[in-house]
């Protein structure tokens, strides 16, 4: 679905006369493979280059070096930009700043309207998308009346109505409360399971990625760790070295294990931890 080879991106900072003042290499030789139907999570602290990847996949930024293919289409090919954007939809962090219309259903229709989809097909797609994110009862509401989690689900519906094969989400939960966060993550898993849509979730909350098929950790524009959630989360020291917030239970379990108690690797939730401890006897 997504295939990147030696991908790099440089932000060039210029002074007032336009001379190059400094170059920041946001991405540095990234090799990325996402299979169709996968749920892949990219973890990284601020400035690790994870958002840059999202923008490159959506052809908003053009790679400085390397190649990137989305569903077999080269993103650097200027003529296919719209095809790329329709194949891999992008959901942003701030729910307010990505909703265009003043009515929920009209916002969901914005994407298909831009694609030139006929009117009755737009209605079908809007119905479908709103149903998938469980927002049908709000279709006539104003986005301003919704909670953060609901707004973000509307944003996802807006992408869904474009019938993408893949959805890339750039920190979709960063501005939400814990309840909204759960709603959004659950919605993503349902879309992945029921509709077979490839999900690429970019976040810095480790607890959100525990059910992903694959976790990639980025730091300083490079991929530093990857594997299943269990594999990645068992390497607590390494994660901390990459400035990631390790959940308290995970750290406690890790320390206990180092102290000689026989616990499984990569414990992420309180329940898992309690079960594992009870299993000791």
């Amino acid at each position: 679905m997504i295939k990147a080879r030696k991908l790099a991106y440089e932000y060039i900072r210029r002074d007032e006369e336009g001379n190059v003042e400094g170059i920041i290499r946001a991405l540095d030789g990234v090799d990325l493979d996402v299979k169709r139907g996968d749920f892949v999570a990219i973890l990284g602290h601020n400035g690790s280059g994870k958002s840059t990847i999202a923008k490159e996949i959506n052809a908003i930024l053009e790679p400085t070096e390397g190649t990137l293919y989305v569903d077999g289409i080269d993103v650097s090919n200027g003529e296919k930009v719209w095809e790329v954007r329709q194949t891999a939809g992008l959901v942003f962090q701030n729910p307010d700043n990505q909703i265009v219309a003043s009515v929920v259903e009209e916002d969901v229709a914005f994407g298909p309207e831009n694609l030139g989809v006929p009117t009755d097909e737009i209605h079908k797609r809007v119905d479908y998308a709103l149903e998938r994110v469980e927002m049908t009862s709000y279709r006539k509401s104003s986005p301003n009346a919704l909670s953060g989690g609901q707004k973000q689900r509307v944003a996802i519906a807006g992408i869904l109505a474009m019938k993408p094969k893949c959805i890339v989400l750039d920190e979709p939960t960063a501005m939400l409360d814990p309840g909204g966060r759960k709603e959004v993550i659950r919605t993503l898993h349902e879309l992945n399971k029921n509709e077979g849509i490839t999900i690429l979730l970019i976040t810095h909350y480790m607890t959100e990625v525990k059910d992903a098929d694959k976790v990639i950790v980025m730091d300083d524009g490079k991929i530093v760790m990857q594997g299943t959630p269990k594999q990645v989360f068992s390497r607590v020291d390494e994660l901390k070295a990459h400035h990631l917030d390790v959940p308290q239970v995970t750290e406690l379990a890790y320390e206990l294990k180092k102290g000689g108690i026989n616990l499984p690797d990569g414990i992420l939730t309180n329940k898992e931890f309690v079960d594992a401890l009870l299993g000791q006897r």
């Binding site: 990505q98 265009v100 994407g111 831009n114 030139g116």
Partner: protein, 291 residues
């Protein structure tokens, strides 16, 4: 407190006028405004008045609510009346220093007053029965022809609808910034005018910065959703004329026809007593002056 401000002045009700296509309403308002300048006698005012009252009754908007809209232009109305009375030449009824009041002046003032009154009520009736979104839609489709002469109709409509979407958000943000600044000791309520204006700077600077950031985010989000202007764009709810819209257009034509015909035929006849009265009045004034 800032959140309570409503945009526009839409009065929600279920009426034929509310249901009409926004294009019809826009066009009808335009024609109504133009029609205000098509007649000369008071018969025209009666026809226009009857038409306006019928539409108001059909719209189910209470008359009190409509008159509220006049408050803001009260001053303008008064000025127009006074200037018309003072500055019209004619048979002088009363004279004091530079102030000359003539019969024609009073007549002009009354007519002009009604004209303005009708104009404002007519156009506010449109905004009262049409949501801002419908209006934008109506303008975009109704003015589509202007695209041929390179007027960016779609872009303007898009800008308007985005502005409508973001006004409440930015209001909320202003509220937040004001609270944050008051918490740090800023005072917006007291002081002289200049001091108060200066106190607003720390509100507007962060507000502008955040507005630009939002604009940047939104532009990117729109691009990500394949927005490329007007190029082969379709609509989810395209405007379609219904039967009642046709009837509305028909009544509009009828209104203009009746207005012109009545003004040209009945007008002079109905005016004659008034003309007689004013000539006899001016004769009286003349005699009075001679004495």
């Amino acid at each position: 407190m800032l959140r309570d401000i409503t945009i526009g002045q839409y009065y929600p009700a279920k009426s034929v006028i509310h249901r009409l296509d926004p294009r019809v309403k826009l066009f009808a308002t335009l024609i109504f405004i133009v029609s205000m300048f098509l007649f000369k006698t008071f018969v025209g005012y009666i026809v226009a008045g009857i038409a306006l009252i019928t539409v108001i009754k059909m719209s189910k908007v209470p008359f009190k609510f409509i008159v509220k809209g006049l408050k803001t232009i009260w001053m303008l109305l008064c000025f127009t009346l006074i200037f018309n009375v003072i500055l019209t030449d004619g048979t002088i009824l009363f004279e004091w220093k530079f102030i000359k009041i003539s019969i024609e002046g009073i007549r002009n003032a009354i007519f002009m007053g009604f004209r303005l009154f009708f104009l404002i009520i007519g156009s506010s009736l449109m905004t009262l029965t049409t949501t801002p979104n419908q209006l934008t839609d109506g303008m975009e489709t109704g003015l589509r022809g202007l695209k041929k002469i390179k007027i960016p109709v779609h872009e303007m409509a898009m800008m308007m609808s985005i502005a409508l979407r973001f006004i409440p958000i930015l209001m909320e943000e202003t509220d937040k910034i004001m609270k944050a600044q008051s918490a740090r000791g800023a005072d917006f309520e007291e002081g002289k005018l200049m001091e108060r204006i200066r106190a607003l700077v720390p509100i507007f600077v962060p507000l502008f910065i955040s507005a630009f950031r939002r604009a940047n985010d939104l532009a990117m989000a729109m691009e990500a959703r394949c927005y490329r202007g007007d190029n082969n764009r379709t609509r989810m709810n395209p405007l379609k004329y219904k039967k009642e819209d046709g009837l509305a257009y028909l009544s509009l034509v009828l209104y203009v026809a009746i207005l012109i015909v009545a003004d040209r035929t009945l007008g002079p006849i109905a005016e004659s007593p008034i003309t007689k009265l004013s000539t006899s009045l001016s004769a009286m004034v003349h005699i009075f002056n001679c004495l």
